[in-house]
Symmetry: C2
């Protein structure tokens, strides 16, 4: 049985969970408190991060490389388009969310308000929280601009870019950090992706000490 | 004519330059002081980073997505192997260097000692420099361990992983931050990659105020 070492509020874990579920690859989820640096876990992945996917006797790390691998092994349903130009655009946006959005928004809002508490590393830095709250507005506007011209973020097909974005936004939504009133277009996109069967396990996530708000799992939010 | 907006000591720019040169795609290099946030540059790439590749009338950003695109458009010579397993390993290592190595080593050593001076953002933080100097040793040991079992970092063929690693190490070598005596195996690998024609333009780089050491461009270092 495949096994995914993950953490419920890790956007990188969520992106891989969505990809596995969309491609109907069965996997057992094992929650990993990766910051405790358990020696067994570090042996599986010297980078010390989640997600780590165990497939057969292979241990796979790095969410981007894992998703590309799953796409190559299980091309149906596709999560990357056919043409090199559209594939580029999907990959560009995956990097946009996993790199820029993560450092400007997720690491600030989740990092300060959730992970400090979970990991026991002190009080939130309010300047960081404020900067994150400011940055998410610009990112929602950028998504609005993209979705105004396209059905999905990278074009007219759903791709890994949508899963990367939804992975970050769903983590932030778990702690009510997304203002869905900012853009009807972005909200419609999220409602579409949230209602996919692949999203179910993510909407059922529960982190002790952080009960999700009522709208989190509600498809009509 | 294709055009690459880059900065000489940006490892992400160097990875794309190596890929372009290896695939013999001609490109005009335009140096971009991206931190000055020139409005023209921001219009080309809202993420405000280098490299940005202009091909025809398309503007391409995000070095990882650019390299995958170049690989799909110009598959010969290949920089990703054939099998999904080997492609995964190459992509995992690209992420290892561009993410983990960058944040633990490059951003600390180059960030504190070079970019603070170039960008005029104050004095180096010596704790950061020390942490970077410690971390590079572990990374060189990891590379030694990999290269002890394989001809190249991701397997027996040269891949994007070698270019990602060489891009970071060549930037650090420009400021004499790599101890080549730590591993004969890693030094041999670097000598091999350094002597490729694709590396020539990188060895000719000059940054005002930071003359490179004599060994930097020397193939027999």
């Amino acid at each position: 049985m495949n096994r995914l070492y993950h953490y419920p509020l890790s956007p990188f874990s969520r992106k891989v969970r969505l990809t596995l579920a969309e491609k109907r690859i069965e996997v057992e989820l094992v929650e990993e408190r990766y910051w405790e640096k358990d020696p067994d876990f570090l042996r599986r992945n010297p980078a010390g991060k989640v997600p780590v996917l165990k497939m057969g006797n292979r241990m796979l790390a790095e969410s981007g490389a894992i998703c590309e691998y799953l796409e190559e092994l299980h091309p149906d349903p596709p999560l990357l388009p056919k043409s090199p130009e559209s594939r580029y655009e999907a990959r560009r946006l995956v990097a946009w969310f996993d790199d820029k959005f993560y450092s400007e928004v997720t690491s600030r809002l989740m990092g300060e308000r959730v992970f400090r508490k979970v990991m026991g590393t002190g009080y939130p830095d309010s300047a960081n929280v404020k900067a994150g709250a400011r940055a998410i507005k610009e990112h929602l506007d950028y998504m609005h601009w993209l979705l105004d011209q396209r059905r999905w973020l990278a074009g007219n097909e759903m791709t890994l870019a949508d899963f990367a974005a939804a992975a970050h936004l769903s983590c932030l939504d778990y702690v009510s950090d997304v203002d869905w009133n900012r853009s009807e277009t972005v909200k419609d996109w999220y409602a579409k992706i949230k209602s996919r069967p692949a999203f179910r396990s993510i909407l059922a996530d529960q982190v002790p000490g952080f009960p999700p708000p009522a709208h989190y799992a509600d498809l009509d939010f």
